[in-house]
């Protein structure tokens, strides 16, 4: 009987969390009149914190993943004399899958955890309450700029990740392993489709950005305002974002490239 009770309580807790998260999102996006004059500088600042400061980890990871892809791909392709296909292999793998997914995972670890910790700490130190008491809506003032910054920056980061990855593939494949420079680029150009490959990658990335940023903001806003609560919330952000990204990636891939 206890087990059933626990299950019921657990389920109810989950559903109420989903409800609170939705409330947060709606409040941040639609609550009150948007004020562009005041909101835009806040958005730009968050764009810097969330996007620009994530650049290093994204670019370095992208470079190395592209290089490893080229190295691994080359050893397989050379057996069939198909090393000219290295270009499309690296670029398609990056644009369709690795760019959006790895960027989202890195984003959750780098920017998502920081967002959760920041907002959780603002809650613990009563900064959110004091905003409310000053008649300033924390959802609009604190949550909304961070949300938009996340949604805008992640697709851009993913595109940069893929671009740098392709360069990494070029360095290893062409400069080091001796694949023909011309065929590397021309076959790549011929086989990558703007709409099917690049845009689908961007759409994936947008979906991941939405989910990751939402989870990070909600976990921070909903954190128990103690040091332990904030550490749990930060961990939850990384774990839940990562799982959500991997799960959604499968669904999106099946929808986009399924047949």
């Amino acid at each position: 009987m206890d087990k059933i009770q626990q299950l019921g309580r657990h389920t109810l807790d989950r559903f109420s969390a989903v409800g609170r998260a939705t409330y947060l999102l709606i409040g941040a996006l639609f609550g009150g009149r948007p004020n562009l004059v005041k909101g835009f500088p806040l958005f730009v600042k968050q764009l810097y914190v969330v996007g620009v400061l994530s650049l290093v980890i994204i670019l370095v990871s992208g470079l190395f993943i592209g290089m490893v892809l080229a190295l691994q791909g080359y050893t397989v392709l050379i057996d069939y004399g198909a090393e000219d296909s290295l270009g499309p292999m690296v670029s398609l793998a990056l644009l369709r899958e690795l760019g959006p997914v790895v960027t989202a995972l890195l984003f959750a670890g780098r920017a998502g955890s920081a967002l959760t910790a920041e907002i959780g700490l603002m809650k613990a130190t009563e900064q959110l309450s004091s905003l409310e008491m000053m008649a300033v809506d924390p959802l609009r003032r604190v949550v909304a700029p961070r949300f938009w910054a996340g949604v805008v920056s992640m697709p851009l980061l993913a595109l940069l990740f893929s671009s740098v990855g392709i360069l990494g593939g070029h360095i290893v494949g062409v400069e080091w392993l001796g694949v023909d420079h011309g065929s590397f680029w021309s076959i790549m150009q011929a086989s990558v489709d703007f709409k099917d490959d690049i845009m689908n990658g961007v759409i994936k990335s947008l979906v991941f950005a939405f989910v990751c940023t939402w989870i990070a903001l909600f976990r921070g806003y909903d954190a128990v305002p103690t040091s332990e609560g904030i550490s749990t919330a930060t961990t939850q952000t990384v774990v839940q974002s990562s799982l959500a990204v991997l799960g959604l990636d499968f669904v999106l891939t099946a929808l986009m490239f399924g047949n």
């Binding site: 609550g31 009150g32 005041k38 130190t125 009563e126 900064q127 309450s129 004091s130 409310e132 008491m133 000053m134 008649a135 300033v136 809506d137």
Partner: protein, 279 residues
């Protein structure tokens, strides 16, 4: 002399216009009742204190008045507006006229002291920057921190942080200010400074002040009227003289700081002997 005459004024409390009123408010968290049918009145332009042992939800009371929490039943009137029945926009409108000094100060850590004080002015007015600067500097001057304007909150001592927060709280000249445990964790000097500031602000701006505290001595020195809360209800209220003469053992226990009395020292438990034998 002024103090005496104010006390007299409060004694016929019915003659004063209440700024904030609680009528039959009941509030509970989960199954635990925090307030059971309490009523209070905070007259306009006076310092009213709420005292009581720690952990009985004095801060909760301020959050109820500020509309951050909703009571289960009862009315909370602030300047005639029933807080629980307001919609979000109306509530924010009422909040523009009230202010709260949080226990931790709650300064925004990413802004300098000056920007913290200027924040509410920038949010709620469209004044040009040079007027905002003058206003913020004047508020900082009144708490003695004009020289600290460029410091960041983490560079301030506890007492300074609370004073800076006070400057921010009065930045827009509110009509009502609520102090949440303003004296906790302060050294005697900054405590004295805060007591004087609260008193002076009340005089010069004609603020309605609500002070939540359990520092009996400090509160008695500034409050015109006092409520003592314990065990989910108001156990005593009146001016300093009235409370000191009160015959209620609860009130006496609290004012004199006796360890045991109607409010037990021990948290509810089985008898010690029983507990030890069980091991």
């Amino acid at each position: 002399m002024t103090f005496q005459s104010q006390n007299n004024a409060v004694q016929n409390e019915n003659g004063l216009t209440p700024h904030v009123e609680l009528k039959n408010v009941t509030f509970s968290r989960g199954d635990r009742i925090i307030y059971d049918d309490i009523s209070m009145s905070f007259p306009k332009g006076k310092v009213t204190a709420i005292m009581g042992p720690s952990g009985i939800g004095k801060t909760t009371l301020l959050r109820l008045i500020g509309g951050q929490l909703y009571p289960d039943s009862g009315e909370i009137l602030v300047a005639g507006n029933n807080i629980p029945s307001l919609n979000r926009a109306q509530l924010y409108k009422v909040r523009e006229k009230m202010s709260m000094l949080f226990q931790s100060g709650a300064l925004f850590t990413e802004m300098s002291v000056f920007d913290n004080v200027a924040f509410p002015i920038r949010e709620h007015t469209k004044l040009p920057e040079d007027i905002i600067r003058t206003m913020a500097l004047l508020k900082l001057e009144s708490v003695g921190l004009r020289g600290a304007r460029d410091l960041m909150p983490n560079e301030l001592s506890g007492g300074m942080a609370r004073r800076a927060a006070l400057a921010r709280a009065i930045a827009l000249d509110p009509e009502l200010i609520m102090y949440d445990e303003p004296f906790v964790g302060q050294d005697p000097i900054s405590m004295g400074v805060l007591v004087r500031l609260i008193r002076d602000l009340n005089h010069s701006l004609n603020l309605t002040s609500i002070v939540v505290s359990h520092d009996v001595h400090e509160v008695m020195s500034i409050a015109d009227y006092m409520y003592i809360i314990a065990d989910k209800r108001v156990i005593g209220h009146g001016t300093k003289e009235q409370l000191l003469q009160s015959e209620s053992p609860l009130v006496q226990q609290f004012l004199k700081g006796q360890a045991d009395g109607p409010v037990p020292f021990h948290f509810a438990a089985d008898s010690l002997q029983q507990d030890l034998m069980q091991g």
